[in-house]
Amino acid sequence: GGIITQTPKFLIGQEGQKLTLKCQQNFNHDTMYWYRQDSGKGLRLIYYSITENDLQKGDLSEGYDASREKKSSFSLTVTSAQKNEMAVFLCASSSTFSQNTLYFGAGTRLSVL
């Protein structure tokens, strides 16, 4: 088995601030994903990466940057936090293909004051 660790668990930021979320996996999976979860809107893909140093934009990439410097880690940066923004960011990984099971971390809960 393996685990996905997301840090921090809770993140409080100020409007306009740049915020970074981190994700580590020990499954040795090739592909990693960042999804945003909003109440009533389900999960929307922000970025994914099929291998080290690869980045692919999802449906919601505007306002975000991502980085995959190692196979085991994938970070997400909110480039300018929006006032009153509240969401949960979920990191996931899978072996190579999207048809395979996704394994999720517990999430980072973001609040912007």
Partner: protein
């Protein structure tokens, strides 16, 4: 275009009763379909998945789902729910050449005594 619709945002059932959570998809080819469950303050966990073959697939904890190509549906069922089944359930879709899974908006299940 691919999409997943979960028409019921909330479902309440009595403990011991049967359950059906609905999922409709839009995709012209043969889809890969998934059901995930999310318990409070946790990431998503796979319940079951369908690729091909028998349209009724069995999952963990007594859950099953039935694929219907004619109805573009993949409904989740359980014969007798337990209070511990209270959670949010997500249906997801991937194509055979897809690069990531698309999720529905989720159905929050509440099991009452």
């Amino acid at each position: 275009a691919q999409s997943v619709t979960q028409p019921d945002a909330r479902v309440t059932v009595s403990e011991g009763a049967s359950l059906q959570l609905r999922c409709k998809y839009s995709y012209s080819g043969t889809p890969y379909l998934f059901w995930y469950v999310q318990y409070p303050r946790q990431g998503l966990q796979l319940l079951l998945k369908y690729y091909s073959g028998d349209p009724v697939v069995q999952g963990v904890n007594g859950f099953e789902a039935e694929f219907s190509k004619s109805n573009s549906s993949f409904h989740l069922r359980k014969a007798s729910v337990h209070w511990s089944d209270s959670a949010v359930y997500f249906c997801a879709l991937s194509s055979n050449s897809g690069t990531y899974q698309r999720f529905g908006t989720g159905t929050k299940l509440q099991v009452v005594p």
